[in-house]
């Protein structure tokens, strides 16, 4: 045995500004190389922002340069220093991309890294060959870094104007197909506007310039108005809330009217969004309010879908030939039962273990559904086919837009229920349970009842979603009910904000709607989800649209933690800032 146990902390020299800047450049460069190697850059570049000028992949590379510059400028004290550091960081990031191009030129790695294709090489070097391309990459990186640093140092008003202009151009360019469609359906005036901004294949150069100017002017005016308002009186609590409600109302109104203008494709996208909103609200009851991290959530979705399928389908496996409106309540009831049955065994399991246990339960359901054992009942891997569309009177809800309205109605009902639950005695019991199970029990919360209700009600929402999902696809397959769905739903309520109803809508639009619109995004959306989970947990654990209670709690918790210096596991100073946030 060694005589001394000391594994002593090594003392590190603090990094000099130069080292820090080089580090920032390297990190951003690595991000760029990573995006290229997983194939995101070439994929994004298939969509152009401005026709024949700049693709979304190019825009991403420029954004990386801007980001490097802005980050590097953060540490500099003087203005000149900031620009210099920004320039350097951008150049380093560009050099990393150039290095990738050099490596690709020297050795063929495509047999291992399948994305390092000649097409990527052309994209990186802009078709100028290795030397020219490398020079452009480094020079462009430096220029972008410089711009980023300047942007960071410029007064906030100016910065906001430039960013608003750029952002609007990117949005207008990326979603050109959709915007053109809406503009052309809306009327004569908007049709001519569409012809001014867009050529038939995308945003034209003059259109981009015009949009930039318009967006910048609007942002400038908006900033001026706000500054004047801020000068008069600080906005009262009520007005802030009113404004929030107004914004939510406008968003909802847009959601409701949009598919009528934009046609069936957008209807389908929004229907999926609505479906995930339903499920998100269900999981929100479990995770957001009651603090029960349930990764087997997809099982309830599957129960809803299979029940509807078996009760209505025109196939050999069907148990009955009910209409959709009769089958749906049964599906929801059965989901509740399954939720409670799931809940009972895991009543005593807490925290991390609960997540794994529920995930195991979900996997068990999936294994059973796919196996030969259950095949006579559930159709095995082939699933149940030919589910009729629901009908109201004589009209069949067959189009995606019609089904979207069905989803919307279901979501509205569910949202009302969830909203009433949140402020009910039960909702408070859930929140107490989330914060401390033992204390909640000591205060008289019936643990068994409230936990089972959380599972049951959460399952009801998912079951309803599953039921709609079944008629949307007209068929159910076991492969539709993977763990992925549970994770998707979890990701969307985390992005939106745990325990927040509007957060579910925001999260669903951002995580389901956006990737669905960028069709070529395809499988990369899951990469995006993984990154989003990590980044949100690090930077904004309360979500994009947090509930009031949650926000207050999180900040109170941070203060308590900062005070609790006794449990300091880290070397002093290194992470003091992250604890104090």
């Amino acid at each position: 045995m060694p005589t001394s146990l000391a594994i002593l902390p090594r003392r590190r020299q603090p990094a000099t500004p130069l080292q820090r800047t080089l580090g920032v450049g390297l990190v951003f460069g690595v991000i760029g190389v990573y995006l290229a190697a997983v194939g995101l850059l070439p994929m994004l570049n298939k969509r152009s922002v401005i026709v024949d000028t700049i693709g979304l992949g190019d825009a991403t590379m420029i954004a990386i340069g801007l980001g490097a510059g802005a980050m590097a400028a953060r540490h500099a004290h003087t203005r000149g220093g900031a620009t210099l550091h920004g320039l350097l960081a951008g150049a380093v990031a560009g050099a990393m991309a150039a290095a990738l191009a050099v490596v690709m030129q020297l050795v063929s790695l495509q047999s291992i890294f399948i994305q390092l294709s000649p097409a990527l090489f052309t994209m990186l070097t802009l078709g100028l060959g290795l030397a020219g391309g490398a020079a452009v990459l480094i020079g462009g990186g430096a220029a972008a870094g410089l711009a980023g640093a300047l942007l960071r140092d410029s007064p906030p008003g100016g910065r906001r104007i430039v960013l608003a202009g750029l952002g609007t151009v990117v949005v207008a360019g990326v979603f050109q197909e959709l915007i053109q469609l809406v503009l052309q359906n809306a009327g004569a005036l908007t049709t001519s506007a569409s012809e001014f901004f867009y050529t038939w294949e995308g945003l034209s150069q003059q259109g981009a310039a015009a949009i930039f100017v318009i967006a910048a002017i609007i942002a400038g005016l908006n900033a001026m108005v706000q500054r004047r308002a801020a000068g008069r009186v600080a906005a009262s609590e009520r007005r802030v809330r009113l404004r929030r409600l107004l914004r939510a109302g406008i968003l909802l109104l847009l959601l409701v009217c949009f598919p009528l203008l934009a046609g069936s494709y957008i209807g389908q996208v929004l229907m999926l969004v609505g479906l995930y909103i339903l499920m998100g609200m269900g999981l929100n009851l479990e995770v957001g309010l009651a603090g029960l991290l349930d990764l087997g959530f997809v099982a309830f979705f599957a129960v809803g879908a299979y029940t509807t399928a078996l009760l209505t389908a025109d196939s050999a496996h069907a148990l009955a030939a009910l209409s959709y409106w009769e089958a749906m309540p049964i599906a929801v009831l059965l989901s509740i039962c399954v939720g409670v049955i799931f809940g009972i065994p895991v009543l005593g399991v807490r925290g991390d273990y609960l997540a794994v246990a529920t995930m195991g339960l979900g996997e068990i359901v999936r294994v059973i559904v796919t196996s030969d054992f259950a095949a006579p009942l559930l159709g095995g891997a082939q699933g149940v086919l030919q589910i009729p569309k629901p009908r109201i009177g004589a009209t069949v809800l067959a189009t995606p837009v019609a089904l979207f309205y069905l989803t919307l109605a279901a979501s509205a009902v569910a949202a009302y229920v969830a909203w009433r639950l949140e402020n009910s005695r039960l909702g408070r019991a859930w929140m107490a349970l989330r914060d401390d199970e033992d204390v909640a029990q000591a205060l008289g919360v019936n643990l068994i009842r409230s936990k089972l209700l959380a599972y049951g009600l959460g399952a009801a929402f998912a079951g309803l979603g599953g039921s709609i999902f079944a008629v949307m696809l007209s068929s159910v397959y076991p492969s539709s009910f993977q763990l992925l769905i549970s994770i998707n739903v979890l990701a969307l309520i985390i992005v939106g904000g745990m325990g927040s109803l509007p957060g579910v809508v925001v999260g669903s639009l951002a995580l389901i709607g956006l990737p669905e619109l960028l069709r070529e995004f395809g499988e990369y959306r899951y990469l995006f989800y993984g990154a989003v989970l990590v980044i949100m947990m690090r930077l904004k654990p309360e979500g994009l649209w947090p509930s009031e209670v949650r926000r207050r709690e999180l900040h109170a918790g941070d203060e308590a933690e900062a005070l609790d210096a006794g449990a300091d596991l880290l070397p002093a100073g290194q992470h003091a800032s992250s604890a104090a946030e």
Partner: protein
């Protein structure tokens, strides 16, 4: 109120259901086993095959479970991405193995090639394990609640999808050298070489790991941190370095396990780490999370149950194609352990600390 009514009141409906669940599972196991044995549809050689496979897969689970248990010991964190770190090792090993296969080294110099494959796999998985710790887990050291676990789920997803992006979503088949395909014959029973190799090497590496944890300075420091991180920090132990070291050890075991798993199933793909990862977590809990011998024991036990179980328990009851329900048995075991004995077999001490 008398004592009997009190006990009756405490004994509520949920307990009844839980007892019924226990009895039900026990009944299936006992009746199924008896029925299968009475029917005697399987020969001794077939049972031996099941047992050998159980030991082989169990030794892999044991190695993966070690990673979970060690990280949980020092950080109280379920490293949800550990299964995917296994996957990264298997992938790296695949590219090495495919290279050696093309150059003929895999056939001509098996020992050298195997060492090379393991080295590449271990280096990759260790680097990724340490990187994930640095980037994703370190900021959550002092955060309570669900945030660290959710972050870990995100890491797991991110790793899977990164590998899908880098190397494609197709299933790649591992090279199958002739020296691995053969089998030893003992008393007339066939024992595949790959099983012997996997079990033997796994035992060697686990013994080495045990020595490292028990005998070296760093291992001692690791145990001290697992016991009480604050006190260890006060004794002058650099907790950060110990945690990085723990992730390194876990990464090494994961890389080796990944290569073995890939050699056993002859394929790699980006999602391959998920199922063995979850099962190995179950094995770690089964053995008592935080306990190193427990993880090894739990891994072997889980492997045996999973391999022998479907046939032994389910065939007798007349369930068709029981091997399809292998995962069902493994997950049922996992859930039963989490529900009824979260402290595991050897984990009394850890359980008390958790409570």
């Amino acid at each position: 109120m008398s004592a009997t009514t009190l006990t009756l009141r405490r004994f509520n409906a949920v307990d009844v259901i839980l007892w019924l669940l226990r009895i039900g599972v026990l009944l299936i196991v006992v009746i199924g086993t008896l029925a299968t044995l009475i029917k005697a549809r399987y020969t001794i050689a077939q049972w031996l095959d099941f047992v050998m496979f159980g030991l082989t897969i169990g030794s892999i689970y044991a190695q993966i479970a070690l990673g979970y248990t060690m990280v949980y010991g020092v950080l109280r964190l379920i490293n949800f991405a550990h299964g995917d770190i296994v996957m990264t090792g298997a992938f790296a090993g695949y590219f090495a193995a495919a290279g050696f296969d093309r150059s003929g080294l895999l056939e001509s110099r098996p020992v050298l090639a195997m060492a090379g494959i393991l080295l590449v796999a271990v280096l990759t998985s260790t680097c990724i394990a340490v990187l994930t710790e640095r980037i994703a887990y370190r900021p959550f050291r002092r955060v309570q609640g669900l945030a660290p676990l959710i972050c870990a789920i995100g890491v797991s997803f991110f790793l899977e999808q990164t590998f899908r992006g880098l190397f494609g979503s197709s299933v790649k088949s591992y090279p199958d050298p002739s020296w691995l395909r053969a089998a030893f014959v003992v008393f007339g029973f066939r024992i595949p070489r790959v099983d012997v190799l996997v079990i033997g090497l796994a035992l060697v590496f686990m013994a080495l790991l045990y020595m490292v944890v028990q005998r070296t300075r760093m291992g001692t420091a690791m145990r001290a941190v697992a016991e009480d991180a604050e006190a260890a920090a006060l004794m002058g132990i650099d907790v950060n370095r110990v945690i990085v070291f723990t992730f390194m050890l876990g990464g090494v075991m994961a890389g080796i396990a990944g290569v073995f798993y890939a050699f056993l199933y002859k394929q790699v793909y980006f999602f391959m780490g998920f199922t063995p990862g979850i099962k190995a977590f179950g094995a770690a809990v089964l053995g008592g999370i935080g306990s190193i011998p427990g993880a090894m024991l739990g891994g072997f036990f889980l492997g045996m149950v999973e391999s022998v179980g479907p046939t032994l328990f389910l065939d007798g009851i007349g369930i068709p194609a029981p091997y399809q329900l292998r995962d069902l048995i493994a997950f049922t075991l996992l859930i039963m352990v989490l529900i009824f004995r979260p402290q595991g077999i050897l984990g009394e001490r850890m359980a008390r600390k958790r409570a």
